[in-house]
């Protein structure tokens, strides 16, 4: 408990540092976001001045950041260049990304561990080779190739899934993009599980357990697998945050109006408040995910739990 509180306290400086760094990064981007909004059309200087003033773009970095933080304390996240409040935008979009990330995460957890176990138990067999080859391919193929291919084949040609959009809601609309997004992590989970399992199956305590006459299912399921899952849990924890942040391409291909799409658009438009707002929430998710992973370690491995106490 004290450990959890300690970790939460650590989050405060991390929070301030990240928001400031992100804000500064958007600030130093070259160019003029207001002029870019007008595109190739002529804009009088008068209008440009009004807009710059409205978004405080003439102020120095520290003043802008201070104003933003002050607003944040009052629950005001600022607004986009089109006048939409950022808080409203986050509310709209957050659900989409969370559903997508959750689908992907469940997919890589369930299928990844299952594949890893199958491959690990039959090391060198056909299943093992197939898993190795398959995961190598998935890791090597860029996500947009996997995404567009899946969309054309499973969505358009076979009609198994909707091609794009969120019309069907969860899970229908999220299955295919979830699998695409989760495929990369799945490959890692499968390989991590396999390697750790192979190693642990050769270890002393497994031999001892087998020698005591324990059934193989119990030896594998409780003794070997539980220890093998420690690196996997680490990966899955961090990856949940990655999935949230890394959905840019997948959300674009499948037209899911989520956080990833928004961050991408906002960086292009240099919309500081949006980028910082989204990133701040992402940072908090990362912190929470890491905390959850640390606490899970204890459950999986008593040695870690005792060392802390």
């Amino acid at each position: 408990m004290r450990y959890a509180a300690h970790r939460l306290a650590q989050a405060v400086p991390v929070f301030f540092a990240t928001t400031f760094v992100i804000y500064a990064m958007v600030f130093v981007l070259p160019g003029d976001p207001i002029l870019a909004l007008a595109g190739d059309k002529p804009v009088p200087d008068q209008v440009l001045d009004v807009m710059r003033e409205r978004y405080h773009l003439n102020d120095p970095l520290l003043v802008q950041y201070g104003r933003y933080m002050l607003g944040l304390l009052h629950g005001d996240l600022g607004e986009t260049f089109t006048g939409q409040p950022v808080s409203e935008l986050l509310q709209d979009r957050w659900g989409v990304t969370a559903q997508l990330a959750a689908t992907a995460w469940i997919f890589e957890l369930a299928v990844g561990i299952a594949l890893g176990v199958v491959a690990g138990l039959r090391r060198g067999g056909v299943a093992d080779t197939a898993v190795l080859a398959g995961t190598t391919f998935v890791i090597a193929a860029p996500v947009f190739v996997v995404g567009y291919t899946a969309q054309i084949v499973f969505g358009l040609n076979l009609g198994l899934f909707p091609t794009a959009g969120t019309d069907e809601g969860w899970p229908g609309s999220y299955l295919l993009p979830g699998m695409v997004l989760g495929s990369f992590g799945l490959a890692y989970v499968a390989r991590l599980t396999r390697t750790a399992l192979v190693e642990n199956l050769r270890s002393d305590y497994v031999r001892t357990a087998t020698a005591k006459g324990m059934r193989r299912r119990r030896v594998v399921g409780v003794h070997a697998l539980r220890n093998s899952l420690i690196p996997v849990v680490t990966f899955l924890g961090v990856d949940f945050g990655n999935l949230m942040a890394g959905a840019v391409v997948t959300e674009g291909i499948f037209n899911l109006p989520g956080i990833g799409q928004q961050v991408f658009q906002s960086i292009q438009l240099q919309e500081g408040p949006v980028v910082v707002g989204v990133t701040t929430v992402l940072v908090m998710i990362f912190i929470a995910a890491n905390l959850a992973v640390d606490l899970l370690y204890g459950l999986l491995d008593p040695r870690i739990r005792r060392a802390r106490a």
Binding site: D32, L35, L156, F254, Q268, Q270
Partner: protein
């Protein structure tokens, strides 16, 4: 809710025509609704957006004073007539008895209010610029401080059906400009809360908003109960489905998940033609690409050198290779659909002739130093065609040292505005209204990106603007175009094509470069 008598009749007629269409749940569109793929609009206030996505929606929600017919000629829509004796003081008669979607009558004041709001500097609206030639504009946009007034002295409401507009000088193109969405009327209700209005605009057009604008997801509109104009909607409503990527929208069109897509990516054009047959339409649009020269860099000071560049570029090879032949090589500064367009205005200077180009290039003294080519990173096709341009310049003119300056979009436009580019740059133009003036004056006129100054050109534009009629202005604009082509501060490259596809459910799709005409589309019963 009160529905006017006429509205009830219209609804009853609609219900008979599209029997059984009513009562559909929001998730499953009723049989006489159709969906249109769209990119998220920035704003939906007519005076505060210039994006083509917004225009598709605004064109369905509003009747502009004038519209452009399929032949490119201005015709009356919300206005009954637009007349002037001296091209400076214009009298606009408004058609009587028209209503906004909320029941408010459309009067001359509705137009004056809307235009004043757009021209009012502190509002910071995108289309502010288009009101610059109305008398009193300056008072709303002072150099320093807040304006003392919020109405332009050049706008006079003589009676509810008559608006008198006084311009700062004669301008023969004024009626054509009234087709641009910035000139739409706004109801009194809008000015209580302009921010709320931007989210839920009330217009005088054949459709009204149906439910809230769901950002990045959808905008729903339905047949207006109060509309009595010529554009009675032939469907019950339209669902705009918002896409972040054109490719995804195209996939959805193929999967029959969206009925109409106006922007099929050029790369997919041959496939779309094959798959959709006569449900694929390709029409030359008003959008042009140009290559501009920075004349303030003295290496580009010679017109011969600029012409040599133009003759060294094989436009046809590039449009075939990069745009699948979907874009048309141009030998004119104007797009083909603009009145006054001449297919070969440029003549020899736009014909690919590497031998002549090289000769001209050497005569002009050649080129020294690094040739930087400027474009933004907004679309990957820019780099593709710039690479082709670079290769042709290398091969045909022998310029070996060529570098790309690929800038983020937010940095690209400020660079051009500040004249910081030191090499040829990509210049794009989307037509606002079909007049040579919309191209020539905005791109080659005062304060242009090339840093080009030519008194003869400026005088000709001024003369054409004050010509006695639209028709009389055309030959004078053509003379101005000739000057700009001879001097070649910016060369034409190609004209974009609008590539439209639609599903088997739709009939009477009559999209022109000037409007989507969504009101005309019918939905077949399946």
């Amino acid at each position: 809710m009160r529905i006017s008598g006429r509205g009830t009749v219209a609804l009853a007629v609609a219900a008979v025509m599209f029997g059984g269409a009513c009562g559909g749940t929001p998730e499953t569109p009723a049989t006489s609704e159709f969906s249109v793929a769209l990119t998220e609009p920035d704003h939906l206030t007519p005076g505060n957006t210039s994006s083509s996505y917004s225009q598709t929606v605004i064109d369905a929600l509003f009747d502009m004073p004038v519209y452009i017919d399929a032949q490119g000629k201005p015709q009356m829509r919300a206005a009954a007539s637009v007349t002037s004796t001296d091209q400076k003081v214009w009298t606009i008669k408004i058609k009587p008895g028209r209503k906004f979607g909320n029941g408010e009558p459309v009067t001359a004041q509705s137009f004056a209010d809307s235009w004043n709001a757009a021209a009012y500097g502190p509002n910071g609206w995108t289309n502010n610029y288009y009101f610059g030639n109305i008398e009193g504009y300056d008072a709303l946009n002072p150099e320093e401080g807040e304006p003392a007034t919020d109405t332009m002295s050049g706008l006079k409401v003589l009676d509810p059906e008559t608006l008198e507009v006084t311009l700062t000088g004669p301008f023969s193109q004024f009626p054509v400009t009234l087709a641009w969405m910035a000139f739409a009327p706004m109801p009194k209700a809008a000015f209580k809360d302009l921010k709320a209005y931007d989210q839920a605009p009330i217009g005088n057009g054949p459709f009204v908003l149906d439910g809230a604008w769901q950002h990045n997801r959808q905008i729903k509109i339905k047949k207006s109960p109060t509309y009595t104009g010529e554009r009675q909607a032939r469907s019950d409503g339209v669902l705009f489905k918002i896409y972040a990527s054109r490719d995804t929208a195209y996939t959805d069109l193929r999967a029959d998940r969206v009925d109409l897509l106006q922007t099929i990516p050029p790369a997919s054009a041959p496939e779309a033609k094959r798959l959709l047959g006569d449900r694929f339409l390709a029409t030359p649009g008003g959008t042009m690409d140009y290559l501009g020269f920075p004349l303030f860099d003295k290496r580009f000071a010679s017109a011969d050198l600029r012409r040599a560049f133009s003759m060294a570029i094989d436009r046809k090879a590039i449009t075939d290779a990069v745009f699948n032949g979907a874009f048309q090589p141009m030998s004119s500064l104007l797009a083909p659909l603009v009145p006054g367009y001449r297919a070969d205005a440029c003549g020899e200077a736009c014909v690919y002739d590497p031998a002549k180009a090289k000769q001209l290039f050497d005569q002009a003294g050649g080129f020294s130093g690094t040739l930087n080519l400027y474009f933004s990173n907004a679309d990957p096709s820019y780099e593709q065609w710039m690479t082709a341009v670079a290769n042709q310049l290398k091969q045909n003119l022998g310029i070996q040292d060529i570098a790309f300056k690929k800038l983020p979009a937010a940095d690209y436009l400020p660079t051009l505005r500040a004249h910081k580019q030191d090499g040829p740059y990509r210049n794009n133009w989307v037509m606002d209204y079909p007049s040579p003036q919309d191209y020539l004056e905005y791109m080659w006129g005062a304060g242009n990106r090339m840093g080009w100054e030519n008194k003869e050109f400026d005088d000709l534009i001024k003369k054409a603007n004050s010509a006695a009629s639209f028709d009389e202005s055309i030959p004078i604009y053509q003379q101005a175009e000739d000057v700009a082509l001879t001097e070649m501060p910016m060369m034409p490259l190609w004209n974009w094509q609008d590539q439209i596809g639609y599903s088997t459910r739709l009939g009477d799709v009559q999209i022109t470069p000037y409007g989507a005409n969504l009101d005309k589309i019918t939905v077949k019963r399946q």
